[in-house]
């Protein structure tokens, strides 16, 4: 374990969605390598508070890599330089004494900046609301073991279901595409028997909402997969495309429409 570090931070500050933003330089002093990245920012914020200056705003909550709240584009990488972790799991031992660290929010037209480093990711919720579910009401469902599901299928569905909705895939993509995020839910439910009845209407509804939110298209660069903290794979996008084309060619009549009520 090395000693404590002194760092220079270049942080994006922006008062609100409308205001112009800019980089502001801060010193982060006496930082322990055992601190997480967010704890390092806590230290900076405590010293700003003591000077009665406004602390740096960023989204965070569970601080164990599962809630998907934290974001941060650190030195050009969503969630920083290490693979398969979120910013809250990034520890300062990854950096060296004297280093300059650039910290930005996610950059995407579909994710407007709320303040400083926090963005509005409600577009992701709206994509899920368009069809990311199995339409069953509470009660009246069959026994859980009535329908066996092959372990490999269940495991694959689980892998897709581990998406935390953080938005790193969008931030990493030069097209700001949300296809990795959208396809993860489509694949999870598309693989499972429970998801079959609405499989083709779901993919159409979710893709339509994704497009309506202003996300770009996939050009197979693979940056999303490389930066995803949960290692969601490009196979999900392939699965979604396959279902989407099938739906468009043969199953148009199943278009997802809840306007008539259920």
């Amino acid at each position: 374990m090395s000693g404590h570090m002194n760092l220079t931070l270049k942080v994006w500050r922006q008062k609100n969605t409308q205001a112009p933003g800019k980089f502001v330089t801060y010193k982060a002093e006496n930082i322990s390598p055992d601190m997480s990245f967010l704890e390092m920012l806590d230290v900076v914020n405590e010293s700003l508070t003591r000077k009665n200056e406004e602390p740096i705003y960023f989204d965070h909550d569970c601080r164990e890599g599962i809630c998907g709240s934290c974001s941060l584009y650190i030195n050009g990488h969503p969630h920083g330089p290490k693979k398969a972790i979120t910013t809250c799991q990034l520890h300062m031992r990854t950096f060296s004494d004297g280093e300059t660290i650039t910290i930005e929010p996610w950059r995407s037209a579909a994710f407007p900046i709320v303040k400083d480093l926090a963005t509005d990711r409600s577009a992701f919720d709206r994509i899920q609301q368009a069809g990311g579910y199995v339409s069953v009401n509470t009660g009246g469902v069959p026994d859980a073991n009535v329908m066996p599901i092959p372990k490999v299928i269940a495991d694959e569905a689980f892998n897709s279901a581990t998406c935390i909705g953080c938005g790193a895939c969008v931030a990493a993509c030069k097209n700001a595409s949300a296809m990795l995020f959208t396809s993860a839910k489509i694949t999870q439910l598309g693989l499972l028997p429970q998801g079959q009845p609405e499989r083709y209407s779901r993919v159409q509804a979710m893709v339509a909402q994704m497009d309506a939110e202003g996300f770009g298209n996939c050009t197979n660069t693979g940056a999303c997969e490389a930066e995803c903290p949960k290692e969601i794979t490009l196979n999900n996008i392939a699965f979604m495309n396959n279902d989407f084309f099938s739906a468009k060619l043969f199953r148009e009549e199943h278009a997802h429409d809840h306007s008539g009520g259920e």
Binding site: E39, Q128, K151
Partner: protein, 644 residues
């Protein structure tokens, strides 16, 4: 006010079905005339909001996070219990009921707990129907594992991310209702008060965390599903944002707060490294299925380990004390959490702790890796091992984990009757924010069960009874109580914003945490608690004089949010200490050093303390008034808990 828990009469196994029949119904075409407010979108809140909307009620759902999917239920790791008996290993509804009552050290209600065990089986069916990808066996059927405090395998799981998968299931049901227009979702919106009109809860006051706007919302009923208060200890496994504010403000409007001193200290967390730490990370209880807990037999060996003169693997088998296996041969490493935590603390107190601080014991997987192979261990616990590696920079496949107890869950909460109603009509509490099902100690994998039980299968029935009674007449938002409560909130926030002292809110929070951990943590005494009470009073006075709250109301202001939450934690802290002082017995997670058996186990005093403490707020800086709800046991015999 008398405390009537409204437990239905009759045999245990018939109480809930009889009660369901006796509850009034709202006819389908009338349901759309009712508005229901649900605060919180964790397992209890999301499942309740979705289920009530499916029935036809108009639901308004609130969360302070940027999305309902971020609620802290998402972080639950290990699993969810259900009495399915898929393993043919002797499980039953009655056994789950019995294990839970015993695990809670006989301080929970029989009626509630039996209902919980009864509906547990429906929860699994519901989640599977939603597409929750639980772990499965090669034959395609659901897999189970064991958890503490039971000798059957009844825990359903999705690797180490069960909470995530269950919450995303409930979130998907919620999303469907948002899409259908039956739920209106308010994100980044924090509830700051309850509006009480003529003794009934009729709405809430919220702050829009993006604009600062203080708004009122009306409804025929208000349902709180706002989680636990573990962050009163500053360091806990809770999310940074988890707070008591909604429940506490409801308490100050008349809702009784029950058993606040019952907190759960989880035995297997990653030890504290320094003052910079903002939270603690849990290592799931499921690890105790295969991990063996030990400490060195002698203080000398422990000291060598602390100074890093030797490593854990250099400690010979005969120099290790597998203390849980030694003291509790029939449950071994799978004793309940309170027992495991106290034993780890005891080892450290005796100087046999490991790690640089000496405040840790080992959780060792060497034997499991040898028996099952590294790949199998990785498949079962991979994400937990990865988390451990990220935080500690140590590889748990190669050396044992260091673990130490940390605050994890709070069994206390708002007092509710069998219908989940607080003593304020129209105000309900579900999930961790109520007190009702876990007694003085919660068993592993039972929190997810209770949250979903309350939301999917209890409140949709019990709420209808209340709504049918009050009728669909629109809530009158012109009633002065709405404007008055809003003005109260604005005045309180302005008071906070006027604090321009010299100490940050985080410093106050940390200080409160130190007091709580030291005097109201794993071991409590009359003397320590009395001292803590004084310290908290001083801290409160100091906070309102010297805290710094930056910024303004009309903007995103994390400092203001935190200040309000910490102010409430300070007040709650004092009540916890009062409750712990009052309860002169040990039970479950509440361990009074003055009350222990010869073997150092928690010693209850059933003659004097077989009751629920429900505290009534009587005014700022005044002592709260205690109401007692007697606990009546008709089915289980109260005995000294034994896991030997």
């Amino acid at each position: 006010m008398s405390l009537d828990a409204k437990i239905p009469q009759g045999p245990l196994a018939e109480k809930w079905s009889k009660h369901k029949f006796n509850l009034k119904l709202v006819n389908p075409s009338n349901k759309r005339k009712y508005d229901v407010i649900v605060v919180g979108t964790g397992l209890a809140g999301a499942s309740a909001a979705a289920s009530l909307a499916e029935l036809g009620y108009n639901v308004k759902s609130f969360c302070f996070q940027d999305s309902p999917r971020r609620a802290h239920s998402i972080a639950a790791q290990g699993g969810i219990n259900a009495a399915k008996n898929y393993q043919n290993d002797g499980d039953s509804v009655y056994r789950l009921f019995y294990d839970t009552i015993k695990g809670g050290d006989y301080r929970a209600r029989e009626g509630n707990v039996y209902r919980l065990a009864e509906v547990s089986v429906n929860i699994i069916d519901q989640c599977v129907a939603q597409g929750v990808p639980f772990a499965r066996e090669y034959g395609g059927l659901l897999d189970n594992r064991s958890f503490g405090g039971s000798q059957v395998s009844r825990t359903f799981y999705a690797r180490g991310q069960t909470g995530q998968q269950l919450l995303l299931g409930a979130y998907s049901a919620l999303n469907r209702q948002i899409h259908l227009g039956k739920v209106k979702m308010y994100t980044r919106t924090e509830m700051l008060d309850v509006v009480v009109v003529d003794g009934h809860a009729k709405g809430i006051v919220t702050r829009n965390l993006k604009t600062g706007e203080i708004e009122t919302h009306a409804g025929h009923a208000v349902l709180l599903a706002t989680g636990g208060y573990g962050n009163v200890f500053y360091l806990s496994t809770n999310a940074i944002g988890s707070n008591v504010t909604a429940a506490w403000r409801a308490h100050k409007r008349g809702a009784y707060f029950a058993n606040p001193c019952y907190t759960q200290i989880h035995p297997t967390c990653i030890p504290v490294t320094g003052d910079h730490q903002s939270k603690l990370t849990l290592m799931s209880e499921s690890l105790r299925n295969d991990g063996r807990v030990w400490a060195p037999k002698t203080v000398e060996t422990a000291q060598k380990l602390q100074k890093k003169e030797i490593t854990a693997s250099q400690v010979k088998e005969e120099d290790r004390d597998y203390f849980l296996e030694r003291k509790y041969p029939s449950f071994g490493n799978l004793v309940p959490r309170d027992v495991a935590s106290r034993n780890a603390k005891e080892m450290s107190d005796e100087g046999k702790g490991v790690g640089t601080t000496g405040l840790a014991v080992y959780l060792d997987f060497a034997e499991a890796i040898q028996r099952l192979g590294e790949d199998t261990v990785r498949a079962k616990y991979g994400n937990l091992f990865d988390m451990y590696l990220q935080i500690t920079d140590e590889n748990p496949y190669k050396q044992p984990m260091r673990i130490y107890p940390a605050v994890h869950y709070t069994m206390g909460g708002l007092w509710v009757d069998y219908n989940l109603s607080t003593n304020v009509p129209g105000l309900y509490a579900m999930g961790e924010c109520n007190f009702s099902d876990h007694g003085a100690n919660r068993l592993g994998a039972s929190a997810l069960m209770q949250g979903l039980s309350d939301g999917y299968f209890v409140i949709p029935y019990t709420l209808g009874d209340y709504l049918a009674t009050i009728g669909p007449k629109k809530v009158d938002t012109n009633h002065p109580a709405f404007e008055q409560t809003k003005q109260d909130v604005i005045a309180y926030n302005n008071k906070l914003l006027a604090l321009k002292g010299n100490k940050t809110v985080v410093e106050y929070h940390r200080e409160l945490g130190h007091i709580m951990w030291e005097y109201c943590g794993m071991a409590r005494t009359e003397e320590g608690l009395t001292k803590a009470k004084g310290l908290i009073k001083e801290l409160k006075a100091d906070f309102w004089k010297n805290a710094i709250v930056t910024g303004e109301n009309d903007e995103v202001n994390a400092a203001l949010e935190r200040a309000g939450r910490v102010a409430d934690f300070i007040e709650l802290g004092e009540l916890m200490v009062t409750d712990a002082l009052n309860r002169r017995e040990s039970c479950g997670g509440h361990f009074r050093l003055e009350s222990q058996t010869e073997e150092g186990e928690a010693l209850r005093d059933d003659d004097n303390f077989a009751f629920v403490s429900a505290w009534e707020f009587t005014g700022e800086n005044q002592e709260e008034v205690l109401h007692k709800e007697e606990l009546i046991f008709e089915n289980v015999k109260l005995t000294q808990r034994s896991y030997k």
